[in-house]
Symmetry: C2
């Protein structure tokens, strides 16, 4: 997910930073607050930008406009990468993106999005809401002058589009792949040649052989982007991003000035959006996968067990390196790994155990036509 | 889940119905509404009753008390089974339970909770929020004089506690099992002797051999109930209830009188609670499973593939029977089955595919002590 979305907004960024310099203080008229939300997403980008819009609508409607949120796409007011700075400094009051975008400020923050071989969306939500997640995240965002809320989850990703088959871990050696973030570091550790490309250049690069593989998102966004036209194989599972959390960050002083009812409205709107965004990805990924398979004859491939085990081992090493560099990363990783140890057996018996049983061959009730 | 919770409240029910007859109209003072919420759960029953309390708190806080909700446990104002009648008639304004409790009024309603070999919680939420679910449910609840919201999901259940091993479908013949709802109908179709027992009698019945098996909920509630003391084997997966939706039902006239902002608050509070309840079950089931395995040496057993395939086939027959009886059940089932056909392959590649990869053996980062 990471850089690809930014790059689309980059063209608009130059003009936007000029505009940002001249922004007025937040308007308050007759006890009504008008807040601006800057986002890292292009306006109404499917699932992500639409999630930010939904959050704004929820807050505005529930407060009957006492707190009105106006959404700006990445680059409209400030460049996508500067969204957190704009909120932190009070230029605007609110932002929407994903924690790992702020790793340049506090490296530990990337654990708040997801990590390779980490937690599924439901497990991640459980960690935020019944583990240490909300508290740890609040501590980190406070250092950046912000209040934090989980504000959407984009679901489990696919493993990526490949023009070469992956049969052993050796096959990553020299493979030219566009894969950002921690997943990219793991592929690099496997000997891959990790490249970054603006989204618009990816299809041509795949077709010309300038790159061999690309990780984008999942069936919903990948279908819209037309990647099936440029790659032979669609690999699963998405070991590198099992369930990425989005963030809503609010200028801390602005947050603290809100009356209790508006605080409650903002918190509940975020919790609601957190679920609805995931529901949208679940629903659209399901229908889009069918279209990819039936209309576009996409060839699915599963990474072999040996490859996944190798990537798992390398992922552990990448995480240990990260946690070895600063105590805060270690704290975050420890909390997440302890939670993971409890969640894995339950998911194996519960949701995943059920899904495997349901997938066995047996005659079942069928929808009747019409 | 079904009847067990009711039975606990039955003792209190007699006194309660007398009280209900004398209820005053909803209090309105200085533009403030005070609503009563009756529930099917004992007050603060873990995960379920606490979910109803959370909903009341959310609405009350976000509206700054302009809409205050007071929660009554099952039997406190009206008997649990009469919660929907009390709301429908306007005796109280709001209720919390689960759709399948109202199957005596409209049989199709049980499809709104869950069905054997049906949808996982995330899939069910996607159906409600991006499929036909909310509209179909609203149509059904309107017939019962209510507005409907999904208001929590108790997650995938376990397969139950058994004192006999299940190796083939034949092993269900004559098996005395407490399992309510559609799951019970499937076990009956497999030749089982399905019995209903008040919750309090279950441990003794298991120990004496009066019953051979019992389906309760999952690790969190089962640990609290101490079922590990009375049964040899803890079976998985929970094929019969993959993700049960709870309902918030609101008297339709009371709902329609709400101003737009309070409507938005109630809707968003429900969507938020819908997620938080699931997070609580995920978190607590994870930690409780560890306690069952480590402290109580519980022996896990997986239903063999052949048994699951047999139960899957019988489940399809039970569903077809139900859908054959009335057009509304057919409509609900068709919508859910169409959604299931799209979701199953995506879940297999996505969440379930990831969970299987993560469970492979490989060295990984470990939480450091202290």
């Amino acid at each position: 997910m990471q850089r690809r979305v930014f790059l689309k907004g980059a063209a608009a960024a130059g003009a936007a930073s000029t505009a940002a310099a001249g922004l007025a203080a937040p308007a308050i008229a007759q006890g009504r607050l008008e807040w601006r939300m800057v986002t890292t997403w292009p306006k109404n980008f499917p699932g992500l930008g639409t999630g930010a819009e939904l959050l704004a609508q929820y807050i505005t409607r529930a407060s009957e406009g006492r707190l009105t949120i106006k959404v700006f796409g990445g680059g409209e007011l400030v460049p996508p990468f500067e969204a957190l700075d704009a909120v932190s400094s009070g230029t605007v009051e609110m932002g929407h993106g994903s924690p790992y975008y702020w790793k340049g400020k506090i490296p530990a923050v990337q654990f708040l999005t997801t990590f390779p071989f980490g937690l599924l969306p439901g497990e991640q939500n459980a960690w935020y809401q019944f583990g240490d997640g909300q508290k740890l995240a609040d501590d980190i965002y406070k250092q950046m002058g912000c209040k934090f809320f989980p504000s959407g989850n984009s679901g489990t990703q696919m493993g990526g589009w490949f023009n070469k088959e992956i049969n052993t871990l050796e096959d990553f050696k020299g493979l030219k792949m566009r894969i950002p973030g921690l997943g990219g570091e793991v592929i690099r550790a496997a000997g891959g040649n990790v490249v970054n490309l603006p989204g618009a250049e990816i299809p041509t690069a795949l077709q010309s052989g300038a790159i061999d593989a690309v990780e984008w998102v999942g069936p919903y966004n990948d279908l819209a982007f037309g990647l099936y036209k440029s790659a032979k194989y669609y690999y699963w599972p998405g070991w590198h991003e099992p369930g990425s959390t989005l963030d809503n960050f609010i200028n801390l002083a602005a947050w603290e000035k809100l009356p209790a009812d508006l605080k409650a409205i903002v918190e509940q709107a975020n919790t609601a959006v957190n679920q609805v965004v995931l529901s949208e990805f679940n629903a659209r990924n399901g229908s889009s996968l069918q279209i990819l398979l039936k209309d576009h004859n996409v060839q699915l491939r599963r990474f072999p067990d040996g490859v996944l085990q190798g990537l798992g081992k390398l992922s552990g090493e990448v995480l240990n390196d990260l946690a070895g560099k600063d105590p805060l990363s270690r704290t975050l990783m420890n909390s997440l790994l302890k939670f993971r140890v409890e969640q894995m057996p339950w998911t194996a018996l519960g949701e995943s155990g059920f899904a495997q049983a349901r997938a066995l061959p047996y005659p079942f009730a069928q929808p009747t036509p019409g």
